[in-house]
């Protein structure tokens, strides 16, 4: 064996450079990788890491109610492009979604259905309420049929005011939500006056007696006590 093939002289490379690689693999390098430097390890709490991941990749529910949903469409679509912020894939099924944007007026007939859709979403789930109607009923607050805000039915993390809010406002709201999720904050579950319950469990009164022939005991119902609404 000849001694022509001497091993290449050990180059003076840093560990970081060695790990970063070169040539064809260059595309795997990222700013993040660079930021980590030489260590392939990061030290963090698991919860913190999970929160960061959650906030950075959110699946929204494709859920349109009223006027605000038009501005919501514009937020998803070109120009405003919510996808830039890692939250732009609207899912048609609540089972695949973790954020629900409530874009519009909620009326008595729809509230039980919205509650059902919300219940179908897997935990952890977050709610962005969009527009004045979801805050207080908005311009329709005095209507006989209008629920005075989304918080009467489901807990809400972020309220975006406006009638309707501009797409920029909704993006700001979603960004705020991401920030809160990343920091592990969540809203306290607020009091929800209107719950889905079985008809048989309702307190007996005149109205319940009157409807007894129309509704089965096991049927889920939502009872609106308009006087107790804010």
């Amino acid at each position: 064996m000849s001694s022509d093939q001497t091993p290449p002289a050990a180059k003076d490379v840093s560990t970081q450079e060695a790990r970063m690689g070169d040539g064809a693999d260059d595309r795997f390098n990222s700013t993040l990788r660079e930021a980590f430097g030489s260590t392939p390890f990061i030290l963090t709490k698991f919860d913190k890491f999970m929160n960061w991941v959650r906030g950075s990749s959110m699946f929204m529910l494709q859920f349109g109610i009223a006027c605000c949903s038009i501005e919501m469409i514009h937020t998803y679509a070109i120009k405003h492009d919510l996808d830039r912020f890692g939250s732009g894939v609207p899912r048609a099924s609540p089972r695949q979604a973790d954020v629900i944007i409530v874009p519009g007026t909620i009326v008595s007939k729809f509230a039980p259905r919205m509650k059902r859709v919300y219940d179908q979403m897997p935990e952890p789930k977050f709610v962005v309420s969009m527009g004045s109607c979801t805050i207080s009923g908005g311009p329709f607050q005095e209507g006989y049929n209008v629920i005075k805000g989304a918080e009467e039915v489901i807990p809400v993390d972020i309220h975006v005011p406006g009638c309707p809010p501009r797409p920029e406002a909704l993006i700001y709201g979603v960004a705020k939500l991401q920030e809160r999720i990343a920091e592990g904050e969540s809203s306290p579950v607020t009091v929800k006056p209107y719950e889905l319950e079985q008809f048989g469990d309702l307190e007996q009164d005149e109205l319940v007696d009157k409807l007894a022939s129309e509704i089965d005991e096991e049927d889920l119902v939502m009872r609106y006590n308009w006087n107790d609404s804010p």
Partner: protein
Amino acid sequence: MSLEKPSRDTALDVGVTEDGLDYDALADLLGGHVLDREEHVNAEGFVIRPDEVQEVLSTLKEEAGFDHCACVTAQEYDDRYESIYHLRKYNDPTQELSIVVPSPKDDPHNESAARVYDTADWHEREAYDLVGIDYDDHPDLRRILLPETWQGHPLSQDYNQDQPQIVSLREHANPLKDDKRSEDDPDTMFVNIGPHHPATHGVLHVETVLDGEQIADLEPDIGYLHRCEEQMCQQGTYRHQIMPYPDRWDYISAGILNEWAYARAAEDLADIEVPEYAQVIRTMAAEMCRIASHELALATFALDVFGDFTAVFQYGIRDREIVQNLLEDLTGQRLMFNYLRLGGVAWDLPEPREEYFEKIRDFLDDLPHKLEEIHDLVTGNEIFQMRCVDTGVLSPEQVKQYGATGPVARGSGVDYDLRRDDPYGYYDELDWNVVTEQGGDNFSRVLVRLREVEESARIIEQCVDLLEDWPEDDREIQANVPRTLRPDPDKEIYRSVEGAKGELGIYIRSDGTDKPARFKIRSPCFSNLQTLPEMAQGEYIPDMIASLGSLDIVLGEVDR
């Protein structure tokens, strides 16, 4: 295809004269049925007995040519209930007649008109739901907007808004479950489409029964966005408090068109003359809204048919963004403009005017190319044509029976456009065409919308020319209107404009105060949606989805 009105069938012209309808001739036709005659601002009202509704209406329909039952208004007076059937003609909507049917206070009921006009079915259900009038011989008198278990009728006088209500969430039953010819007949399948479903364009619920993949029975269930628009308007003052609400009926950027419906009715009620300059601005802004609205209709239709959130949908949204910017420059808002005022508009064009005109012209210059692009992508696409040509066919007779208007009617060859037939604003001074297609299928309806965008662009261009040359000292944007508007008591009016989806009509009755005593909205989508079962019966379920998309309903307007 032109501004000339189609020729009339003279056999049905009872009472038609050169200067409008001769109501005496119509009263003679009805003979003893007419108990009394009222003057409404738009037409005369014939008062008839509550048990002769079918007879009177079918006489008027068969012998006097009133083939369009535009609206049914119900209201409660201190001493009686009243239903008003607003009749007009498809070939000349300026020929109007109101049939007024009073019914007793203690037991309000009158004969149903649903056997004469199919469209009265839903209108009467709504009247029953909100006001509480019973219609005898109605095929299916149930609540339509409010939940089945609702207590009371909210637009009646003794309704207590604070009483608690219970709404149930019960599984819907298959209406055809036991409908079998024999034991071995396969089961039908019941499918709920909506109220939360991407293809229903909002919170519509379609109860569908499938036999295999074909639709055996279908019923749209509405009311998931019934936000009391009529009550809101009845609580607001004419001058300022009502105008923000129309923006929220048809919320797909069609705000100005809706505002105009209210403005036109209230201006005619209070005898307000709008300055010409303001009319030109209104016309221009309204057509921009129409473009924005049709762009979204196309985008969502493509989304339904292609299931494609990326390409075609985004093309539509891209063009909408430009129109919305133009409207924002003009009105200050992207969606809820609140720009029209009774007697004019809120403010003049944005300064510098030349820059604004330049922007509009740029948009109009780019538009033909963009439309061509959309035609290449959508209407020229073979898959699209396979889905849309000859599916969801609606005949002109069905259109008239259900009172369908707008692109839905024009897609079936019914030449009906209020901008030409019942002129308002500046439309009769401009050069443009009414677009019709003969097919009556999903494809025709889409084509009508796309071609209407071109016509709207022509109108805008002419308006810009006019505005550019308008003398500076004559730019009057607002007529002189009293600060508090109190129209004379007991004046009644029904006025409509051509909204993005069709005939958007407003009925107002004044009672001498600064708020309307009754405010009824005739929404085009409400009538158009009624045709869905006709289109979908026996068809495949994907064709039904395409039909629903091509109807271009917006639930804010269906439910109000």
